[in-house]
């Protein structure tokens, strides 16, 4: 640790590991499968002769041939070149709630009592896991104030698709699905709040923020009509500003005949503080891999737990998990069900981890999670605003909930250093700093969310990293613009990735394009 700058003399692992096909040596084996029993072979023969000749693969698949330890080593080396949240002060990936995923929950979820369950087993043999699914449903009802949850969606975006599907089914049941063909969302809500309903054929109206950074009520009033199918909106949005008029939004949309879905993928600042129910939402969803601690897994597996009010239970995907005071069971008898969103019952290990996390904290603990997450965020906000070149657009002087979308606009104007440059240089100190979803409404954006998991000392270390990069930007911008210098790789040539003649999404495509 450099005592003066309080930043690390970090260097990421650099193994210079070849692409896996380059490790192949003919004849090496990574794993052996059982030998067929002689008795079976005597009766059945080679098994292949029963196949139609045209269906037998003649050429073995082009896979590498590598011994077991070398495969292990390859992947371990690549793992060292991946900056998981367990290593990082991972507060630079705002909106994603990069909190601690407790190891005990990993251990519990790797029990054969979970991993060796087949989803079509007799209900009597899966009472334990059904109990956990059902109880997590009860917990989330309490946290949201809504009446029933499904865990089928395999992520937030799929939960949004499910909401749009239910909105469609609801209007369809009233013969209004053709007329009500518009979904309203806001620019600071997740892109999937616009993109997923678009898949269902909806036209999308995006409400832009006003000068306070909040979606404009007047714009909403103008947007609603008898074409309105529903509203899908986050709160707080990516800015971390709580929308105090959220109940007016639901009122306006309900009065127009629309349905309201609350994007609470990230609810980390409001557990036990405010709920979907009090704001009159018909649905909400929580990402179990965000607020409820299930790990992010490089981008899943994940769960978007979707809750609805009584009125909409009959539209939920099947099956629902119920309890009749004696036994847990699957209920397929859902009158207006949208059918299936994902196979079976969702990403069950994520459900177990969320259950276990809540059972570790309880109601007081959950509220403490949110309060400390908000404390950490406002502490970070205060400190970031002291950094030259940084700003937090909108809501000046006010506090934020769990995250803030900041801007390096001033830094860029004064030094030419962009958000992307800062990100690359932050990597040299072992940090990640994310920008924003597109479009960049906030110029040179960066979005930070410290959650409850990081100590003050760790947050201070991240701040020291930003300060150091800013100082460098003013003193020696080239150093920042040519970063990273201590990462696994150097500046990546991205033009080829957009050029059909040069892009290579697999090794075989790469060989074809480079070995002409």
């Amino acid at each position: 640790m450099n005592k003066q700058t309080r930043t690390r003399n970090f260097h990421q692992a650099k193994w210079d590991e070849p692409v896996i096909y380059e490790l192949s040596n003919e004849g090496e084996r990574g794993i052996l499968f059982p030998e067929i029993e002689q008795e079976i072979e005597n009766i059945i023969g080679d098994g292949l002769s029963k196949l139609p000749e045209s269906m037998i693969r003649q050429k073995p698949p082009n896979l590498p041939e590598i011994s077991q330890m070398r495969v292990l080593k390859h992947y371990l080396r690549l793992s060292q070149q991946t900056l998981g949240a367990d290593f990082n002060v991972d507060i630079g990936q705002g909106t994603c709630t990069m909190k601690y995923s407790p190891k005990i929950n990993e251990k519990l979820a790797s029990s054969h009592k979970l991993i060796a369950l087949h989803p079509a087993q007799d209900e009597d043999t899966v009472q334990g896991i059904l109990e956990i699914i059902h109880k997590l449903d009860l917990f989330l009802r309490e946290i949201s104030g809504l009446d029933k949850f499904t865990f089928q969606p395999g992520g937030g975006s799929q939960a949004i698709l499910a909401m749009a599907s239910i909105i469609y089914a609801y209007h369809d049941s009233k013969d209004e699905s053709k007329q009500r063909d518009e979904i309203i969302t806001t620019m600071f809500s997740h892109p999937s709040d616009a993109a997923a309903p678009n898949v269902k054929g909806y036209k999308i109206i995006n409400i832009y923020p006003n000068e306070d950074g909040l979606p404009d009520v007047k714009a909403l009033e103008k947007a609603v009509s008898n074409h309105t199918a529903g509203l899908l909106i986050a709160n707080p949005e990516d800015t971390g500003i709580f929308n105090p008029k959220i109940k007016e939004f639901t009122r306006i949309v309900h009065e127009a005949g629309g349905v309201c879905g609350y994007d609470q993928a990230n609810a980390n600042g409001i557990l036990g503080i405010t709920r979907a129910k009090e704001a009159d939402f018909d649905f909400c969803f929580f990402n179990l891999h965000k607020t409820f601690s299930s790990p992010h897994g490089c981008g899943g597996p994940a769960t978007g737990a979707l809750g609805v009010t009584d009125k909409f239970i009959k539209y939920l995907p099947v099956p629902l998990v119920e309890f009749d005071e004696e036994k847990y069971y699957f209920n397929y008898n859902v009158s207006n069900t949208i059918g299936k969103i994902r196979s079976f019952y969702g990403v069950v290990p994520a459900i177990l981890k969320a259950y276990s996390w809540i059972m570790s904290l309880g109601s007081v603990g959950l509220k403490e999670v949110s309060q400390i997450a908000v404390l950490n965020n406002n502490y970070l906000l205060k400190k970031i605003l002291e950094i030259r070149g940084a700003s937090a657009p909108y809501a000046k002087g006010r506090h934020r909930i769990e995250q803030v979308r900041y801007s390096w606009e001033e830094l860029y104007n004064e030094t030419g250093v962009t958000t992307e440059d800062v990100t690359c240089r932050m990597a040299d100190f072992g940090f990640h700093m994310w920008s924003s979803h597109h479009p960049f409404i906030v110029p040179q954006p960066f979005t930070l969310e410290p959650t409850e998991s990081y100590s003050k000392a760790e947050i201070d270390e991240y701040i020291a990293g930003l300060k150091r990069v800013v100082e460098e930007s003013y003193e020696n911008p080239e150093l920042v613009k040519s970063a990273p210098h201590r990462s696994v790789v150097h500046k990546i040539e991205t033009d080829a990735l957009d050029d059909p003649a040069r892009w290579a999404i697999t090794w075989r495509a790469y060989l074809k394009k480079t070995q002409k």
Partner: protein, 471 residues
């Protein structure tokens, strides 16, 4: 000593009162409550959430959860022949070793500079799937086969500019339900009949239903009913002659011995990678793949992340990044193709490990082994009085339909009897296909020994043909 101890939860470091006070002081407020100034009274939740008393001690928590889980009876403790979209295969130890690594388990959305390993492993996963499928483009995995098939279909509609899709009736009903929801209301789905004897697609019905409106024909091989479809090229030719695409769903673990769909004319191939190194996890181990040729008109229609290999500012260094990011909804909320979000990347990394371990020989040997075992099981079961193997004229990979009509027992009754002998019988499809009223899909893989299969046959025979159950 009587002073009440404040509980500092191990997951929340800044609960320590002194630190909390210092931070509040720096922010310039007296209480955390002041930070919530923007949330109006009417939106406040005033009660305490009614949740059970927690177990802050890790030991107590562990006891509590383990006690609930202990009520489960698993496929490890019992002998299972369940299949149908989720399968019990052997998971090599290294697959678990890699996907439980903190580095991969807790990474998310870092840049290629922080997460070079994440990009490389997923590129390698796609490369090895490409080798198995003989296709040049494979996506970063999506939720499951259902989503992969749904997106393949939507891609076909965009590529052809048509809105009608034909689907083989032998598809898994769950998957069909996912597709129907995903296509509603913009894509019309028509089902194509199958041959009641062979279980294969009815080409006459296909020819009747296909038209200049058809965007594609989707069929699965092996099908949900276990049959190997040997008319793939004919189906693809019929599709192509009408300007439609050939879309094929497949189980990748079959491709060590079966011809990959790209060889019989498939334009888009999809399926699930759960069989490649993922535990079943009560259905939580699923993940979908989509593969195509490397043609711009196909690549530009993927909604998924596609990771590509490129150069860096240093000569000879491999770099990785997103290929044509601009086509995704991350870049353009509305014009982007469908939508993208967190799906199942970790399972993709794991499937890569599996394919690297198995290699070409392993996939061939495994495929052959499964064929031999399932054929042996079919033979043993068909010898039991009253039991018929449906579609026995067809060839099968690991699954086959057992018809219990001749036994006088329902699938439910038989499975209850087997359960008493600690055997999970085949997946009951009686309510899924009206024409297969008393049928179950049995699944046999490399995990089943001869002894296991004999035990199943004996248990069935005992139940059906001894004592009072004979009807």
């Amino acid at each position: 000593m009587n002073k009440k101890k404040i509980l500092i939860h191990p997951y929340i470091p800044n609960s320590v009162p002194e630190i909390k006070a210092e931070m509040l002081n720096i922010i310039g407020v007296k209480t955390i409550e002041e930070l919530y100034e923007d949330i109006p009274e009417e939106l406040r939740f005033k009660d305490e959430m009614n949740l059970p008393k927690p177990f802050p001690s890790e030991y107590d928590l562990s006891r509590h959860v383990e006690q609930i889980l202990s009520k489960n009876q698993t496929c490890q403790e019992n002998l299972s022949f369940l299949g149908g979209d989720c399968w019990q295969h052997y998971v090599p130890a290294i697959c678990d070793e890699i996907n439980r690594r903190s580095e991969f388990l807790t990474a998310y959305a870092g840049e290629p500079y922080e997460d070079h390993g994440r990009f490389q492993t997923l590129f390698e996963y796609a490369s090895m799937m490409g080798g198995l499928l003989e296709m040049d483009v494979v996506n970063v995995p999506t939720y499951d086969w259902g989503q992969a098939a749904s997106t393949s279909i939507r891609m076909a509609t965009r590529i052809t500019g048509r809105t009608e899709i034909l689907i083989s009736k032998t598809i898994s009903p769950d998957r069909l339900s996912i597709i129907q929801n995903y296509c509603k209301p913009t894509v019309t789905i028509k089902l194509v009949e199958y041959n009641a004897t062979t279980g294969n697609l009815d080409l006459d019905d296909l020819k009747t239903k296909i038209s200049s409106k058809t965007a594609g024909i989707y069929f699965e091989n092996p099908s949900y009913l276990g049959c190997i479809e040997d008319q793939g090229q004919l189906i693809s030719d019929i599709a192509h002659s009408h300007g439609a695409l050939s879309l094929v769903g497949t189980d990748p673990i079959s491709l060590g011995i079966l011809v990959p769909p790209s060889n019989y004319g498939a334009d888009i191939v999809c399926g699930d990678i759960q069989s490649l190194g993922m535990h079943m996890q009560f259905g939580g181990g699923l993940a979908g793949f989509i593969a195509t040729r490397d043609e711009e008109r196909y690549v530009m229609e993927y909604p998924s992340r596609l990771f590509g290999i490129t150069t860096t500012s240093v000569e000879g260094e491999h770099g990785f990044g997103d290929v044509t990011y601009d086509r995704t909804s991350f870049h353009d909320r509305i014009e982007g193709k469908e939508f993208i979000g967190t799906a199942t990347a970790l399972w993709g990394i794991t499937a890569g490990v599996y394919l690297a371990l198995a290699g070409p020989q392993g996939m061939q040997e495994l495929g052959k082994l499964i064929l031999q075992k399932s054929q042996y099981a079919m033979k043993k079961l068909s010898e039991i009085q009253g039991i018929n193997i449906q579609f026995s004229q067809s060839s099968h990979f690991k699954e086959f339909v057992v018809n219990l009509d001749g036994t006088g027992n329902t699938v439910k009754e038989v499975n209850k009897a087997l359960l008493k002998k600690r055997i999970f019988g085949g997946k009951d499809i009686s309510s899924e296909f009206s024409e297969l009223e008393n049928c179950a899909v049995f699944c046999v893989t490399e995990i089943h020994t001869k002894e296991d299969i004999d035990r199943l046959a004996q248990a069935l025979d005992e139940h059906l043909n001894e004592g009072d159950n004979r009807r």
